[in-house]
């Protein structure tokens, strides 16, 4: 069964084309990662699906209905931005407020237990730490036992341990049969959770495939090697992006994203480049995504490489 679909959807904000003739559909039980730089149209896409906004043209369907009808949203769960929780309400009250909109919500205790929030039930949300607020925000998406969960950047700003707790909760909820669509800046998160990846850039769908296929689509290899600082690798055949790393002994550790790793290594040898400690592996989704968005003339985000190195 199709849970959500967009057909030739365009949405503009003044001169900005946020979504440009996008078609996309998600079937029951999928776990889809929505990936793209800031301003790519991810949040606009989610706001259309959750009924917050109307498309300028095209059709958006949620469980076969118009998402702007309340009845269509009974099976939908979304997260608020954690900075926006009503500060004077307690954790328990916010959970109740949201749960009462649904016909068969999870009991308050179950929701809190899934996210380790039991001890905070009487705390006002204004007094929570960032991580606690984030967990509550994701918990609110699941209170109504929705069949579709939309998560916009669910773990932004969380430490590694808290992120893994949330991932586990999401995997469990997905294993119960729910459909999950999430956006993330943390590409590691998409790689850890999603089966299917949709890459959005400049308001268009650049790639839509399984995680492995999206990685394979760009066929990037990451080549690491140490060379003397004076050696430039940019011009060599097969090298797409060269990043300088830390000095290592008498040389510099460089990372090369190679569209054709074989040609690159052959060139290294043929030109007698004095390299050592050669390493090679498949590129991360992050790198695949960087290549996809830059190849299509879309400005690449300014932070992905640092985030990958995190």
């Amino acid at each position: 069964m199709t849970v959500l679909s967009l057909t030739n959807v365009t949405r503009t904000f003044g001169p900005v084309v946020a979504l440009d003739d996008v078609s996309l559909s998600v079937e029951e039980g999928e776990l889809v990662g929505l990936l793209g730089p800031n301003g790519a149209g991810k949040t606009t896409l989610l706001s259309l699906v959750s009924g917050l906004r109307r498309p300028d043209s095209g059709v958006v369907r949620l469980f076969g209905g118009d998402p702007r009808d309340a009845a269509s949203r009974i099976g939908l769960g979304t997260t608020p931005q954690d900075t926006g929780l009503p500060p004077t309400l307690t954790v328990g009250e916010v959970v109740d407020l949201v749960g009462r909109h649904y016909p068969a919500p999870m009991p308050r205790a179950e929701v809190l237990a899934r996210f380790g929030l039991e001890d905070l039930v009487r705390r006002q949300t204004g007094g929570l730490s960032g991580g606690q607020r984030r967990r509550l925000a994701v918990a609110l998406a699941l209170v109504g036992r929705p069949r579709l969960v939309l998560l916009d950047e669910p773990t932004t700003g969380l430490d590694v341990e808290a992120r893994h707790v949330l991932w586990q909760a999401l995997r469990e909820y997905h294993a119960d049969g729910a459909t999950v669509v999430l956006t993330s800046h943390y590409l590691e998160e998409i790689e850890a959770l999603a089966d299917r990846v949709v890459v959005v850039g400049g308001g268009r769908v650049l790639a839509d495939d399984s995680l492995a296929a999206v990685l394979g689509l760009v066929g990037l290899r990451r080549v690491l090697l140490t060379v003397p600082a004076s050696v430039r690798l940019d011009g060599l055949p097969g090298a797409s992006v060269v990043q300088d790393g830390a000095p290592s002994g008498d040389g510099v550790r460089r990372t090369v994203l190679a569209s054709d790793a074989d040609a690159f290594v052959r060139a290294l040898v043929r030109q007698d480049v004095p390299f050592r400690d050669l390493e090679m592996r498949g590129a991360s989704l992050e790198e695949a995504f960087l290549t996809l968005t830059t190849r299509d003339g879309v400005t690449a985000p300014d932070q992905p490489v640092e985030e990958a190195a995190r």
Partner: protein
Amino acid sequence: MSTLTVRPRPFWTLAVVHARFQFVETIRIPIAVLGNLLFPALALLFFVVPQRAVADDPLAATAAVAQLGTFAVMSTCLFSFGVGVSEDRAMPFDPFLRTLPAGAGPRLAGRVINGVVWSYFALVPLVVIGWLLTAATITPVRALAAFVMVPVVAVPFLLLGLAIGYRLTSKAAIAVVQATLFPLAFAGGLFLPPEMFPTWLDAISKLLPSRAARDLAVQAVTGDPAYAGALVVILAWTALFAALAVLAYRRDEGRRFH
């Protein structure tokens, strides 16, 4: 578990849920509401109580309390719920609430219920001062009539506040509410009784929701009949403001995209 057979929760259930949580939110920052309670009470204390000609005349004193009571209700509704809505809209929690399976109706109704409840609270200091320091009197039947009259007075101004709050940003909303509240209050005879108005102002005044509300409130507490058509005027404004509020809510898509 087919979506087609599952309906959203009943309208009034959701309206009460929203009213309850909005009430809790308001009561935890009571200073906002207290400010609204204070101004009419001080006006009664400083401008009516020292004028013994008014304060010692049961009819005039009771009318003065009703008049300032109307102002208290009007300002509570326009400020707390008009400006309040525009402030809520600037918070990221508001778009989240809009994704829940409830239409515009229950949330608006919840705000209206909450506004009426706070209007009753706004009247308490006025009634206490009027009772202790003036000759104002009321019979049990008229007290009941006044109790019933409060929502009739509150609802149109709440809806006007909501229409402003859903249409404008909070800074613009504050300015518009101030520019609306005081002229309406003055021309509606909430500060000076309409008996002191020149005839042309009295004629305009009778078309205003504030005047209609004032005269109905005075009628409820003193039995002094309101002008003919007061009820029609207030119902017409209520219908207009309701339409504007629903329209503004439907048009609203949350904050603008940047």
